[in-house]
Symmetry: C2
Subunit: 110 residues, 2 copies
Amino acid sequence: MTSEAAALFDAMGDPTRRAMVSLMARGPASVSALADPLGITVTAVGQHLRVLEQAGLACSEKRGRTRYCRIRPEGLDSIEAWTRQVRREWEARLERLGDMLDEMGPQAGR
Amino acid sequence: MTSEAAALFDAMGDPTRRAMVSLMARGPASVSALADPLGITVTAVGQHLRVLEQAGLACSEKRGRTRYCRIRPEGLDSIEAWTRQVRREWEARLERLGDMLDEMGPQAGR
DNA sequence: TTTTTAGTGAAGCCATCACTTCACCAATGG
DNA sequence: CCATTGGTGAAGTGATGGCTTCACTAAAAA
């Protein structure tokens, strides 16, 4: 597992950050616009935002005194890459298993 | 976000559990076969295993005195479903944005 | 049968981390 | 200018959760 994917799962492992991502998926939001529906302080949002940004799941930009936060859907890529990898590995294993049985012939296991 | 997906991200939020999944992707493993390379006790593995099972990411079966643990790749489905959902929502937003600009006509924003 | 191996359950320890408060800065509005 | 609004940084609190130890059960081996 890549360290990117690890950071992603770590970031998504928290319910508040998941909620933030869901909110931002509806469009850019200010820090307080995120804090309000979540019932937490803007300070807390700022801390979560840093984690999401470092994981590549969000980015933000300050204009005037308000900071606009957006998700980066591309950030989800390595999650999908990882799940595909696990699936592939598992299926390859089943295939190898099937090959082995084939080689052993139909009389195997009697 | 569905509660299944939440459970999945919670489960995958821990590095040890991620490592367990990676190990199991290579084939079924006993509890101690998982504990050994991870450098933790079998008790700890048992606890993680319960979380993974409840999240639908693994299943296990006890034969004799050993418990065989396997991953359930289907369990990853709702992670992918969720990432697709977020992407879709975001793209829909961009589309709406584009439509609005179209309706406003080329003279908009002057 | 005795011993060893594989795993479970309960209980406790400890570090991480989510969150708060408080002080502070900078932009905006009156 | 003064008050308000939006956000940041540092420091502290509290709870969750990952892990351990210890006592125990059951299967397999000797």
